[in-house]
């Protein structure tokens, strides 16, 4: 086995293990952390495929930002696992059957018979000078400009929707206005009062 193969199988094993943990483990925080591990190992696999931009972006976006916020929520919510697990045993046989059928279908359809190396040539390994970040950027901003822009609009709508659905104007707000705060003058806060000295009784 070449070292690349060793790395591939090692990371694949970790990935499958982590993905399994995500759905089987009891503690939701551990489940979320397993998902982080799964993302991280799949990023490593992508880098092994010479897709370093995608791999690093996966870490940057999903591991570094999305999952952090996700963990926030999971940690702050008091999740009652007993309730979540209630139907688990009941639906398990049915779910298992569906899963096995889907697995079999996938094996037939996405298996080597249809997508084997004899059907699709091995991708060309690019040299050191080849930057797939640049190539990806060129594709996105020329050939796929229109879908790319629409994707940006979708994100904008997601922001609008999230704000529209969650922001409530609080009646008694105590937020401060920094621009007003810094404009305060001495005279507005301090008043010098002249008082006659108290007389001794």
């Amino acid at each position: 086995m070449s070292s690349e193969e060793i790395i591939f199988y090692a990371f694949s094993a970790i990935l499958i293990f982590a993905a399994g943990m995500v759905i089987t483990i009891r503690n939701p925080v551990f489940a979320a952390l397993s998902l982080v591990l799964a993302f991280f190992t799949s990023a490593a696999l992508w880098i092994l495929l010479e897709a370093e931009f995608l791999g690093l972006t996966l870490v940057l976006v999903y591991v570094g930002a999305v999952m952090v916020l996700f963990l926030f929520v999971v940690m702050m919510l008091d999740i009652n696992l007993a309730v979540l697990k209630e139907g688990f045993a009941k639906y398990l046989p049915f779910g298992a059957v569906v899963a096995i059928i889907m697995l079999a279908q996938l094996a037939v359809i996405v298996g080597p018979k249809q997508f084997g190396l004899d059907k699709f040539a091995n991708p060309v390994a690019q040299g050191v000078e080849y930057s797939n970040t640049k190539e990806l950027g060129r594709q996105l901003y020329t050939d796929y400009l229109y879908p790319f822009e629409i994707a940006a609009v979708i994100l904008l709508v997601a922001i609008i929707a999230a704000i529209a659905l969650t922001m409530r104007k609080r009646v008694k707000r105590q937020t401060m206005q920094p621009e007003q705060q810094v404009q305060v003058k001495r005279n507005e806060r301090v008043r010098l009062v002249k008082m006659p000295a108290e007389k001794k009784l």
Partner: protein, 358 residues
């Protein structure tokens, strides 16, 4: 250096030789880095001491120079206390997750032309990815401690890191636009030609934003509400003691050095000499003086040291920010400025503005 080692490697199989060379490189980087971290703690106490007209530590060793060693020994021998209802596994994993990315990010930092462990094309992206992972150590530590103070500190710190990462990322995008590469070595080389060619000038606002965001990312004063000893004792690491605590400390200082090093690489020309373009080229050919005045690792270390000093200077000078002010600064001030400046840089690059983008 490698030529010297090569003969000793002859007897090994090739793959093993490769691995051992990599391990040696890592050791050669890590040992000075950790020493640097240790002495940065001393420097911090000394600098802040002098700023406050004190002397600082002066008992252990000549002029207190052995103080970090004493501290390290003390922490090593202390007991690591496990809070009774803490999550044991995560409690111990937390510090590891804090230090691992802080150290891993150094793999792509070039100290001199070609003097880098991994000369990868997407180096800058790798740095961003690694620094964004550092937040896990904080969150996990805060949650696993099962303490309200620790959890509050972790939440504050994580929210702060995630927020400032955006401004930091945008500032880095500015550098990448200007240099046209994600490889840090190439970014430095793109700044060749003297101090006025370095990116601090065309990217001045981005430089400030990068550095300030770096201070916020490392949870350093004046953005250290995550530790906020006056309100939440010490934030996410209240429950830690002994070496586990020291590891967090190491991570924080390693991150500081990383931010300082990156600032000097991305905006201040890394190992390039500021005298290029000022002195006549013939000066650099003189035997020893030429090497000193010309580009080299010493310039890089000097610049990094200066930015580390700024870190300490800031801590000694500014009072702590209030939390909502931190968030306001990050989201409402930095991000808009970076976006506007990015547009400007993009225009300048397309338009080939001399002397930086010709």
């Amino acid at each position: 250096m490698l030529d010297l080692i090569e003969p000793f490697m002859q007897w090994m199989p090739e793959s093993l030789a490769n691995v051992s060379i990599i391990v040696m490189k890592i050791t050669a980087l890590l040992v000075p880095l950790l020493l640097g971290v240790a002495y940065l703690t001393l420097a911090e106490r000394k600098v802040i001491g002098y700023i406050q007209v004190r002397i600082g530590p002066n008992r252990v060793g000549p002029r207190g120079l052995l103080q970090p060693i004493a501290d390290a020994l003390k922490l090593l021998t202390k007991e690591i206390i496990l809070p009774s209802s803490a999550n044991r596994f995560l409690f111990l994993v937390g510090p590891v997750l804090a230090i691992a990315p802080a150290v891993a990010a150094w793999a792509v930092i070039p100290f001199d032309d070609g003097m880098v462990i991994a000369d990868v094309n997407a180096g800058l992206l790798y740095i961003l990815a690694m620094t964004s992972m550092g937040v896990y150590g904080v969150i996990i530590a805060g949650w696993a401690s099962n303490s309200k103070y620790a959890f509050l500190g972790a939440l504050r710190s994580a929210a702060q890191i995630v927020s400032y990462e955006i401004a930091m990322g945008f500032a880095i995008v500015g550098v990448l636009l200007a240099a046209g590469s994600l490889n840090i070595g190439e970014i430095v080389l793109a700044q060749q030609g003297g101090v006025w060619q370095w990116f601090w000038l065309p990217l001045l606002p981005l430089f400030f934003i990068y550095f300030i965001s770096g201070v916020a990312e490392t949870n350093r004063a004046p953005f250290d509400v995550a530790e906020g000893e006056s309100e939440i004792v010490a934030g996410f690491h209240v429950e830690y003691s002994g070496m586990a605590f020291a590891v967090f400390f190491l991570a924080e200082y390693a991150n500081m050095i990383l931010v300082a090093a990156l600032t000097s690489l991305l905006f201040w020309g890394g190992w390039l000499s500021p005298l290029e373009g000022i002195l006549p080229a013939s000066v650099f050919d003189i035997a020893v003086i030429g090497a000193l005045l010309g580009p080299g690792i010493h310039w890089f270390l000097l610049k990094t040291a200066f930015f580390l000093f700024v870190f300490l200077w800031l801590r000694a000078t500014f009072p702590r920010y209030r939390y909502d002010q931190i968030m306001r600064l990050g989201w409402k001030v930095f991000i808009p400025i970076t976006i506007v400046w990015l547009l400007l840089v993009g225009w300048a690059v397309v338009d080939h503005w001399a002397p930086w983008f010709d």
